[in-house]
């Protein structure tokens, strides 16, 4: 019988995507639907003296205009994670209003919504809204935001800190170890701000039905249930059972569509006001200005080594921008998703990270592909490579010297880090060894020496990352400040004909769940993949869901489905036993049928399904039906790891970096669909390369964004990237039923330091030790001149 797990099965969802038949929010057109446009502040920090909508109200097609003075002005979107100050002071959490009323806190903040019959009319009328602003000084750099006298983002507090935080060993102990270390390497840099740039911009339709008193919100979100919960309970105070949130197809998120944004709450409120559906779709400029950004850490770090090159201590201080308001998961990103990875794959005995998280006059910063782990990995992997160069040790050797020894989490216990987490299983030697083989590392070093003699600048960079995925055990995250659980829901409904509908709280916005989930459900039930349908993205279909981010769909969402599959098989066995007139314990299930062990007596999954719904001859006391829903709360995070190696050539005249090769050996645990895993790794690598070489959100001193279009914000393109060479080792996760770890973010985490290490390696003989990201030709050339 055909099985599916582990096979490169083509994605079933691609047929509709390739034909332009996806069901994206902006494709939906409802009867009597209106359109909307926002009036947004051109200033980063300003007093709003007045808003005059008189002319706009007279414009053709205008249905309604609302400002912060209307009752919607009292509502704000909440933050979903609380990190209090080290001294016990509660996290400073400003109201994030649906429309700014008196004060502007970042460029692009909305002051009014114009609703009209057509989009063109809404845009035209929005141009007629007159806003009188008084511009004020702004601060956009997180370190400068904490300097005395910096402009305050929120005047109710004496400085711009939202919270501060630390993790690891006692600071004095770490400092003492650094003081007595044989060698200490140091770095100061900014992990630059990035814009997520999903292909599909954010899009919402709010539809209030006057007759039923129910709302439907169509939204391009990564987690429909969480949006519904926040919207109902924490923003508008409307009944959750009267709200349906739908997000069928979503064109990429990379984190930016996790959060509950002001626009979707405002549309939901306004739809009831006007009694008609309202659509808003962000344009690209609005996306740059209003989608939550990623990264933006200002970092100062020291790492100490002993004579043998073993790391003895690591101390880091960071300023991590929050933006003007706290986005849904923002406080978790530079703290629990970041500091908890400071162990890396190394046995570092003493670690201390201190974080200050200031408000800045910018759009919010939140999780962006990797969310805190890329920042941790970049720091660790740059520091190790920098120290290796300075101590004249090969960077691969220095890593081997410091790796945590292999452990499978079953026969050997998990690895307890200095920063709270316990790794599940790992074999860090294995991925580096394989990565070096794939590259032909020793041969490359010879080639590099020859090239250098002829004036060619070739470099190789290694990164050996670990990340925490599969978020997360609810009780653990609850103790760390999460205001929600992080389990997942999976329901399996067997139809009378034995066909299977699976409902998941995970959300697919490019991941391929419809294919992968069907692969393992079909295998576990021993039925054809065509008999399994995966449904997601509709709060009316599945009990609840926490959505997709943190590479959690398969390890958490998949496990919830497995739990339901197990319940189906358990109940099915009772029915089968009755039909076969045998004891349950005498049955075995394989290839879609229950067989009495040692006989040819069997009954098929289809027959049992039909019996469950037509229970004429049925076990006594057993309920009819074959339909189960399960909540799965993981017992630990999962910890994928890998080695990424980049080879670059630098143009000595211009500083332009060409990526010549990219080798990735990842360990994501068991693999359900290797084609999809390769695709996830490759896509992530490209985003990681984008951060290393191209991408940067730049705000000037006054808070204007200088990189708010594709003319100014450089995205990686196909011709920037060589063929990405992928391979894997497999170290199963010991604590979930599929043994999977997650692959969605690995590429973006591992790639960035590999590329930067390679460029620095290419220029090391010129005395270059570091270059600020992105490594634009100008920055590289200037580094070469110094």
């Amino acid at each position: 019988m055909e099985t599916f797990i582990g096979k490169p099965i083509k994605r079933r969802e691609d047929a509709r995507f390739l034909k332009g038949a996806g069901r994206y929010t902006d494709d939906i057109k409802l009867p009597k639907m209106t359109h909307s446009a926002f009036v947004r502040s051109p200033y980063a920090h300003a007093n709003v003296r007045s808003i005059d909508t008189t002319e706009a109200n007279k414009a053709d097609g205008v249905v309604a205009i609302y400002t912060g003075s209307d009752s919607c002005g009292t509502f704000g979107v909440p933050c979903g994670w609380q990190v209090d100050f080290k001294n016990g002071e509660t996290m400073r959490e400003p109201l994030h209003p649906l429309l700014a009323k008196d004060k502007i806190k970042h460029v692009g903040e909305a002051v009014a919504i114009v609703i009209a019959e057509t989009l063109e009319q809404a845009r035209d009328a929005a141009e007629l809204v007159q806003v009188d602003y008084e511009s004020l000084p702004a601060v956009t750099d997180p370190r400068k935001a904490m300097e005395p006298g910096a402009p305050l983002v929120h005047e109710e507090w004496p400085d711009n800190a939202s919270f501060d935080w630390c993790i690891g060993n006692d600071r004095a102990e770490v400092e003492a170890a650094l003081d007595s270390a044989h060698y200490v390497t140091e770095m100061e840099f900014r992990n630059q701000r990035l814009a997520p740039n999903a292909i599909e911009p954010r899009s919402y339709i709010a539809d209030y039905d006057v007759n039923s008193g129910k709302w439907t919100l169509y939204t391009s979100t990564q987690n429909p249930h969480l949006i519904r919960l926040l919207l109902c309970a924490f923003v508008l105070g409307i009944p959750e059972h009267k709200v349906r949130v739908v997000s069928y197809d979503v064109g990429g998120g990379f984190g930016s569509k996790i959060y509950h944004y002001t626009e979707e709450a405002l549309l939901t409120w306004a739809s009831k006001e006007i009694g008609r559906p309202i659509k808003w779709t962000s344009d690209r400029t609005e996306a740059f200005l209003t989608d939550a950004h990623g990264r933006d850490h200002v970092v100062k770090s020291k790492m100490g080594f002993d004579k043998e090159g073993k790391i003895v201590a690591h101390l880091t201080d960071e300023f991590c921008a929050m933006g003007a308001y706290l986005s849904t998961f923002a406080p978790a990103v530079p703290t629990y998703l970041h500091g908890t990875l400071f162990q890396g794959v190394y046995t570092t005995p003493l670690i201390h990270l201190n974080v200050t998280a200031p408000f800045t006059h910018t759009v919010a910063v939140d999780a962006y592909r990797g969310a805190g782990r890329p920042e941790a990995t970049y720091l660790l992997e740059r520091m190790i490579s920098k120290a290796a160069k300075e101590m004249d040790i090969d960077p691969a050797d220095l890593r081997f010297k410091n790796f945590i020894p292999p452990f499978d989490g079953v026969n050997e216990p998990g690895y307890q880090t200095q920063v709270a987490l316990q790794y599940d299983s790992g074999n860090y030697h294995g991925v580096l060894k394989r990565g070096l083989e794939m590259l032909g590392y020793e041969d490359f070093r010879k080639e590099q020496a020859v090239a250098r003699a002829s004036g060619k600048l070739l470099g190789v960079g290694i990164s050996t990352y670990i990340e925490g995925c599969g978020i997360a055990p609810s009780a653990v995250v609850g103790s760390l400040g999460a205001r929600a659980g992080l389990y997942e829901v999976g329901a399996v409904r067997v139809q009378p004909t034995g066909k299977v509908s699976v409902f998941t709280g995970s959300h697919s916005h490019g991941q391929g769940h419809e294919t992968v989930f069907a692969q393992f459900v079909a295998d576990k039930l021993g039925i054809p993949m065509d008999d399994v349908e995966i449904e997601h993205g509709d709060t009316d279909q599945v009990a609840f869901g926490m959505g997709t981010y943190g590479s959690r769909s398969l390890s958490v969402g998949g496990s919830a489905i497995i739990k339901s599959v197990e319940k189906i098989l358990e109940k099915g066995a009772k029915i089968a036993a009755h039909k076969l007139e045998a004891a349950e314990e005498d049955l075995e299930y394989a290839e879609g049928k229950w067989t009495v062990k040692g006989t040819d007596k069997s009954v098929s999954f289809g027959d049992v399904s039909l019996t469950a719904y037509v229970p004429h001859d049925y076990p006594e006391g057993l309920e009819p039906g074959l339909d189960f829903s399960s909540f799965y709360d993981p017992t630990n995070f999962t910890y994928p790891f890998g080695t990424h190696i980049a080879v670059v050539e630098v143009d000595s005249d211009t500083g332009k970096v060409t990526l010549k090769r990219f080798v990735a050996c990842d360990d994501v645990g068991n693999v359900m669909n290797p084609m999809i895993v390769d695709g996830q790794i490759q896509g992530g690598v490209v985003q990681g390369v984008g951060q290393a070489l191209l991408e940067e959100v730049i705000y000037d001193e006054s808070g204007q964004m200088l990189s708010g279009s594709y003319m100014d914000y450089a995205m990686p393109r196909a011709d920037d990237i060589p063929m990405i060479e992928t391979d894997r080792t497999v170290t199963p996760c010991p604590h979930n039923p599929l043994g999977v770890k997650g692959a969605g973010e690995a590429g973006a985490i591992g790639a960035t330091p590999a590329v930067v290490n390679a460029v620095v390696d290419a220029l090391a003989h010129l005395g270059v030790t570091d270059i600020q990201m992105p490594l634009t030709p100008q920055r590289v050339w200037k580094a070469m001149q110094n």
């Binding site: 989009l119 063109e120 845009r123 035209d124 141009e127 344009d283 690209r284 400029t285 005249d653 211009t654 332009k656 191209l694 940067e696 730049i698 200088l706 990189s707 594709y710 003319m711 100014d712 914000y713 450089a714 995205m715 634009t776 030709p777 100008q778 050339w781 200037k782």
Partner: protein, 268 residues
């Protein structure tokens, strides 16, 4: 990305287009490929009330050989310039520049005349037009005139075209040996520096785009040319408005100009 309301009319002849321009004055804009104007309109940076489409005008998309010149209709697309045999054989430097513009979609729509009239200081054609000493043929209500390349580019997005004038063609003298070398801006892929060099007997003619507010002839390079590329050191001599942005400040851009003039001279 929704433009303000505008009217649209398709002109059948150059004369009709000129009359329409006169009739609508400042409220009207000529559109051909639309690859500079339409993006500006979608961002509402340009809000013309009337678009006069000259794309369909007969005779404005031909490429002909007239004695020692190749005459290229203003409506010819970038793509046409990359594949046309006359252009490839006689003004190859122009084909090379056209190949560097945008992507396939842009090259299929954007036109030579539209790009020159828009006069983006980082666009590719000006360097080539300058180095080739091409002449721009402009028609207005008082008839047709030619404008030398050196006179044509006057400032950022500013040309010698007078109100009511339309570029109908560009006349390129045949060039036996020319090259276009470009350093791409990583986001827009416009030219941070674009250098066209043309061999003229023992001399060279060098046009530079992307570096200054106005594309220029690198006369200091031309005067110092001795058959080697050493004269590239003079690439920005006399240029007092080297542009600066987050991709290339004045120092780096000036350096790149020298590198790319050198590369162009060495490619001849």
């Amino acid at each position: 990305m929704i433009p303000a309301k505008f009217d649209y009319i398709k002109a059948a002849t150059v004369g009709e287009a000129i009359n329409l321009l006169e009739e609508h004055g400042f409220d009207a804009k000529i559109v051909s490929g639309g690859h500079s104007l339409i993006p500006a309109m979608k961002l509402r940076l340009a809000t013309p009330e009337m678009l006069i489409d000259i794309r369909g005008i007969e005779g404005m998309n031909t490429i002909t050989e007239e004695g020692n010149e190749i005459v290229i209709g203003a409506n010819c697309t970038h793509h046409e310039l990359t594949v046309n045999a006359l252009v490839n054989n006689h003004v190859n430097v122009l084909s090379q520049a056209a190949k560097c513009i945008g992507d396939i979609q842009v090259r299929n729509r954007g036109t030579l005349g539209g790009s020159l009239a828009h006069a983006d200081p980082a666009s590719d054609y000006p360097a080539t037009v300058l180095a080739c000493e091409a002449t721009i043929v402009a028609q207005g209500k008082n008839g047709s005139r030619t404008i030398t390349a050196i006179d044509f580019f006057q400032g950022l997005f500013t040309t010698a075209l007078e109100e009511g004038e339309i570029i109908t063609a560009v006349r390129f003298p045949k060039v036996a040996n020319g090259t276009y070398q470009k350093f791409f801006q990583s986001a827009s892929r416009f030219a941070v520096v674009g250098v066209a060099a043309v061999k003229d007997g023992d001399r060279v003619k060098v046009g530079v785009t992307g570096v200054a507010g106005v594309p220029y002839r690198a006369t200091a390079v031309e005067n110092a040319y001795d058959g080697s590329s050493a004269c590239a050191a003079h690439a920005v001599e006399g240029v007092d408005d080297v542009m600066s942005d987050h991709f290339a400040d004045e120092e780096y851009r000036s350096h790149l100009a020298k590198v790319y003039v050198k590369r162009a001279l060495e490619a001849l």
